[in-house]
């Protein structure tokens, strides 16, 4: 799990994950991107803040939970912090498994839990000034699905 300022390269990360492991039959990945529009306002920049220490622990715990639920081979989470602009990549979740079913489910699970549990916050810059992004009920609902 990595928390970093710099960008990441999806195909490079995938090459590392699958190198030398013929047990892997499927790799799924999710990439979150900065949009130029939120709540009807133009977004020119976004600052990602986190809680160092707790962030890493929380990501580690989410990945452990995914490994306990599904028979998967590898999981990678990379989350960027600091100033980002529209088109920039924010987060990468990549899961390797023997088959696609587990890899798809585990990837979605990690992302849903990250959204509601990992201590990151977004502040976006709009023409009206800076504003903190509000948490969404739909994200809570997405995470709760996995508890049923």
């Amino acid at each position: 799990m990595r928390v970093q300022m710099q960008d990441f390269d999806v195909s490079g990360e995938m090459a590392v994950m699958r190198a030398g492991n013929p047990a892997i039959g499927a790799i799924t990945s999710f990439v979150g991107l900065v949009r130029d529009l939120n709540e009807g306002d133009c977004v020119s920049e976004m600052i990602l803040e986190h809680y160092p220490g707790m962030t890493e622990r929380s990501l580690e715990r989410i990945v452990q939970e995914a490994r306990a639920r599904w028979d998967i081979i590898d999981v990678l989470v990379v989350h960027r912090i600091g100033p980002l602009r529209p088109l920039d990549q924010i987060v990468l979740v990549m899961v390797a498994g023997a088959h696609r079913g587990e890899a798809f489910s585990a990837c979605e699970f990690v992302m849903d839990y990250l959204k509601t549990q990992a201590p990151f916050w977004k502040k976006e810059q709009t023409p009206a000034g800076g504003r903190w992004v509000d948490a969404r009920d739909s994200d809570d609902a997405a995470a709760k699905r996995w508890q049923q």
Partner: protein, 100 residues
Amino acid sequence: MDNSDVFKGLASQAGVTISVLYLARLREVLGTDREELTLPGAAPTVAALRAFLLERGGVWSKELAPDRPVRVAVNQDMARSDTVLRTGDEIALFPPVTGG
């Protein structure tokens, strides 16, 4: 009264000294990123800390009001309102998370 009672008595007089961190929007509206605090009592809870800060009035009572969605971590693990605080603990107060 044996020695352990004497010790508990001293501890409760001294209170519990903790570090409190304010993150993201809470840091900005409260105008501070961290402070050291001594709470009265031998075993104060997260709820007691919140009530203590609420007493400051102004922006504190607005932002930490019971209906506001404030999250609390104790030593970097999510805590509940009945989580007990101990001397040396790192407490963080922050809004619901919005990463990803």
